[in-house]
C-alpha cells in the first residue's frame, strides 16, 4: 500500500469491508440484521428514533397551543426584557418561551422541523457525495488511464473539502446563499459530501475487483451497465450506515449554525437548534428553555448514532467472530 493512500483508509475501509463480496449477499445482510437485533445499543437507538419519528409525524396535530402565537406577550405574562418568563403551569406544560409562546407545543412541532432539516441535509450530502464518489469509483474501477485521472481529480477536490473545517465551510455557504431553511440544509449537507464521496468510491473500488464484476466484464456487459446494476447496489450498505450517522451530526451541526446566528430564520417553524440558540439569552432566567431542546437534540442524535454504530459493527466482517 502506498503511503499517501493510507490516510484515507479510515473512511475507505468501511466501504471495502462491507463491500467485499461474501458468498451470499443475502445471508450477509440477514446475519447482520440478526446481530443487530441482539445489540442493546441498536435496540435503544431504534426505540429513540421510533419515538422521535412518531412525534415528528403526528405531534403537530396534537399540540395544545399554536406554537407561533405570542400568547404570553399578548396577555402580559411574559416580559423577557425584564427577565420574567413564567415556567411550567397546568395550561402550559413546559411554560412559555421568551416570546410568550407555548414551549411544549414548540418542542413537539420542533421535532418535525429538526428531523426535516436532518433528513434533507443528509439526503443532499448523500446525493452529491454519491454522485461524485460513484463517478470517481466507477471511472477508477473501469476507465483505464483517463478514468484514473478523472478519479484523481475528483478525489483531490474532495480532499480539499475534507481539509476545510466543516463549520467554517457551512458558515461561508450560508453567507453566500443568504439565511434560509434551504441554505442551512445545503450548508450542513455540503459538509458530509466528502465523507459520502470517499465512502462510496472506496466501496465501489473494492467491488469492482470482485469476481462477479470480472465475470460480468468477461461476459461483455457494458461498463455503465455494470456500474449501475452491480457496483452501486452492493456499495449501498456502508453508505446507509454513514447516512444514519450523518443524520446525527447534521442535527448537531445545524444547532451550531444557529448558535452562530445562521440558523433557520423562520420562527413560524420552530426547530430545536434555533430554540437552543435563542435560549442562550435566558439561561439564568429560565434554563429550561435551553435544556428542553438540548436534551431533545442530544437524545435524538444519540439515537441515530447508536443505531448507526451498531449497524456499522454488524456489517463489519472483521468484527464478527
Amino acid at each position: 500500500m502506498t503511503l499517501t493512500g493510507r490516510k484515507k483508509e479510515k473512511i475507505d475501509r468501511l466501504g471495502e469491508l462491507a463491500g467485499a463480496p461474501e458468498e451470499s449477499g443475502q445471508s450477509l445482510l440477514r446475519e447482520a440484521f440478526k446481530r443487530l437485533r441482539r445489540n442493546p445499543a441498536a435496540i435503544a437507538g431504534a426505540i429513540i428514533l421510533g419515538l422521535f419519528v412518531l412525534i415528528a409525524l403526528f405531534g403537530p396535530f396534537l399540540v395544545p397551543h399554536d406554537p407561533v402565537e405570542p400568547i404570553g406577550v399578548d396577555n402580559g405574562e411574559v416580559r423577557s426584557g425584564q427577565g420574567i418568563i413564567p415556567g411550567i403551569s397546568g395550561e402550559h406544560w413546559l411554560g412559555y418561551d421568551h416570546q410568550g409562546r407555548d414551549e411544549f407545543s414548540r418542542m413537539i412541532v420542533g421535532a418535525r422541523q429538526t428531523l426535516w432539516v436532518g433528513v434533507v441535509a443528509t439526503f443532499f450530502g448523500l446525493a452529491v457525495g454519491s454522485l461524485v464518489g460513484g463517478l470517481a469509483g466507477a471511472s477508477y474501477g473501469l476507465g483505464g488511464k483517463w478514468g484514473r485521472r478523472l478519479d484523481g481529480f475528483l478525489m483531490r477536490t474532495v480532499d480539499i473539502l475534507l481539509a476545510m473545517p466543516s463549520l467554517l465551510l457551512a458558515v461561508s455557504i450560508v453567507a453566500i446563499l443568504g439565511r434560509s431553511l434551504l441554505s442551512v440544509m445545503i450548508a450542513v449537507g455540503m459538509v458530509s459530501v466528502p465523507v459520502f464521496a470517499r465512502l462510496l468510491r472506496g466501496s465501489m473500488i473494492a467491488q469492482s475487483s470482485s469476481d462477479y464484476v470480472l465475470a460480468a466484464t468477461a461476459l461483455g456487459v457494458k461498463r455503465n451497465k455494470i456500474a449501475l446494476s452491480h457496483l452501486l447496489p452492493n456499495s449501498l450498505a456502508p453508505v446507509l450506515v454513514q447516512a444514519t450517522l450523518t443524520l446525527a451530526t447534521a442535527i448537531i451541526e445545524a444547532a451550531g449554525l444557529s448558535f452562530l446566528g445562521l440558523g433557520n430564520p423562520d420562527s413560524a417553524a420552530p426547530e430545536w437548534g434555533v430554540m437552543l440558540a435563542d435560549a442562550q439569552g435566558f439561561l439564568d432566567v429560565r434554563p429550561g428553555l435551553a435544556i428542553y431542546p438540548a436534551v431533545g437534540i442530544i437524545i435524538t442524535a444519540l439515537g441515530f448514532t447508536l443505531l448507526g454504530e451498531a449497524m456499522r459493527e454488524a456489517l463489519d466482517p472483521k468484527l464478527r467472530k
Binding site: K7, Q280, L319
Partner: protein, 334 residues
C-alpha cells in the same frame, strides 16, 4: 525519507494555487464587502464607493487576484482589514492559542479515549462496553456551545475551580516569547504564569475533547478487537508475559495505527469545534477570529487562513504518515 517529505511538500504547491484561486473568487462573491463592514451604521453610498475604489475592489476580479498573488509570492499575506495588523502577525498571535487548545483537547481525548476504547473492546458486549461507547458517543451528541456553558456553570461558577475566559489571568504579568503561554511560562520560569495558562486550558480542552473522543474510542475499540484476534497476541500470551506487557507492547502498539490516522483526519473537525469553543470561552484563538473575519469580509485574513489550514492539514497528515513508520516498521516511506 527526506525525498519523501520534499515530494509531499512539492505536491502542496498546485493544491495551494488552485485552492487560492477558488477561494478568491468564492469570497469576493459574498454579498456586502468590507466597506459596509467598516462603516457600519454610518455608511453612505459616497463613503462606500470611495473605500471600494481605494481598496481596488472595483477592479476586475483577475486584476485583484493578480495583485493578491504578487503579494503572496513576495511573502506578504497583507494586512487585516479589520485590525490593520499584518495577517502573519495576527496568525502568529492567534494560532498558538488554538494549537494549545487543540493539543490539550487531544491529550484529554486520547488519554480518556484509548483506555476507554481498550476496556470496551476487552469487555465486548458487556455493560461496560455499552457504557463506555455510549458515553463517548453522548459527548459528540451534545452541542459544543451548550456543553461549554454547562461545564463552566458547574466547574467554574459553581465550584470555582477554573477560570471561564481567556488564556491567562489578565492580572498576571507574563513575558511572551513564543506566543504559546504554557511554553512561555516554562521557558521564562514564570511558573505561576504557566500554571495559570494550564488552568485556562482545562475547561475548553474538556469541551473540545468531546468531539474527537467518540472517534478515538470507536477506532481504538474496533482496532483492539481486531488485534486481539491476531496470532502474535496469542504468541505473547503463550510466552507468559504479564498482562501489562501484552496490552501495551503487543495489543496497543499495533492498535494505534488506525488511531493515528483518525487523529490526522480529525484536525478539520477539531478546528470547527475550536470556533465554537473559543467563542464560548473568550479564548483568543484562530477560530473565533476567523468567524469575525467572515463577518467583516476580511479577505486577506480569510485567504491567508485557508492557505495555512491547507498547509497544516497536509503537514499533519505528513506527520501521521511519518509516525506510521515509527509505529509500524513495515511501512517504509518512499
Amino acid at each position: 525519507m527526506f525525498r519523501f517529505i520534499v515530494r509531499r511538500l512539492l505536491q502542496l504547491i498546485p493544491t495551494l494555487f488552485g485552492l487560492s484561486l477558488l477561494l478568491f473568487v468564492w469570497l469576493h462573491r459574498l454579498p456586502g464587502g468590507p466597506e459596509t463592514a467598516i462603516l457600519g451604521e454610518r455608511s453612505t453610498p459616497e463613503l462606500r464607493a470611495r473605500i471600494r475604489e481605494e481598496m481596488g475592489l472595483d477592479q476586475p476580479i483577475w486584476v485583484q487576484y493578480g495583485r493578491f498573488m504578487k503579494r503572496v509570492l513576495s511573502g506578504d499575506l497583507g494586512t487585516s482589514i479589520g485590525t490593520k495588523r499584518p495577517v502573519t502577525t495576527e496568525f502568529l498571535e492567534r494560532f498558538p492559542g488554538t494549537v494549545e487548545l487543540t493539543i490539550t483537547a487531544l491529550i484529554i481525548a486520547v488519554g480518556i479515549g484509548i483506555p476507554l476504547g481498550y476496556i470496551a473492546a476487552r469487555r465486548r458486549g458487556t455493560w461496560i462496553d455499552q457504557l463506555s461507547v455510549g458515553g463517548a458517543l453522548l459527548g459528540i451528541c451534545i452541542p459544543v456551545f451548550f456543553l461549554g456553558y454547562i461545564v463552566k456553570e458547574v466547574l467554574a461558577v459553581n465550584f470555582g475551580w477554573f477560570p471561564t475566559t481567556g488564556r491567562q489571568d489578565v492580572t498576571i504579568d507574563a513575558t511572551r516569547v513564543t506566543g504559546f503561554f504554557v511554553l512561555d511560562g516554562l521557558l521564562t520560569r514564570e511558573w505561576d504564569a504557566a500554571a495559570d495558562a494550564i488552568m485556562h486550558l482545562i475547561l475548553p480542552g474538556i469541551v473540545l475533547a468531546s468531539i474527537p473522543l467518540a472517534s478515538i474510542v470507536r477506532i481504538t475499540r474496533a482496532s483492539v478487537l481486531e488485534v486481539v484476534q491476531e496470532d502474535y497476541v496469542r504468541t505473547a500470551e503463550a510466552k507468559g508475559l504479564t498482562e501489562q506487557t501484552v496490552r501495551s507492547r503487543h495489543i496497543l502498539r499495533n492498535a494505534m495505527l488506525p488511531v493515528a490516522t483518525t487523529i490526522g483526519l480529525l484536525t478539520g473537525s477539531l478546528l470547527s469545534g475550536a470556533v465554537l469553543t473559543e467563542t464560548v470561552f473568550a479564548f483568543s484563538g484562530i477560530g473565533a477570529f476567523i468567524v469575525e473575519a467572515i463577518d467583516r469580509r476580511d479577505y486577506p485574513v480569510l485567504m491567508g487562513f485557508i492557505m495555512i489550514v491547507a498547509v497544516i492539514y497536509v503537514l499533519v497528515n505528513l506527520l501521521v504518515d511519518l509516525s506510521y513508520s515509527l509505529i509500524d516498521p513495515r511501512v517504509r516511506v518512499r
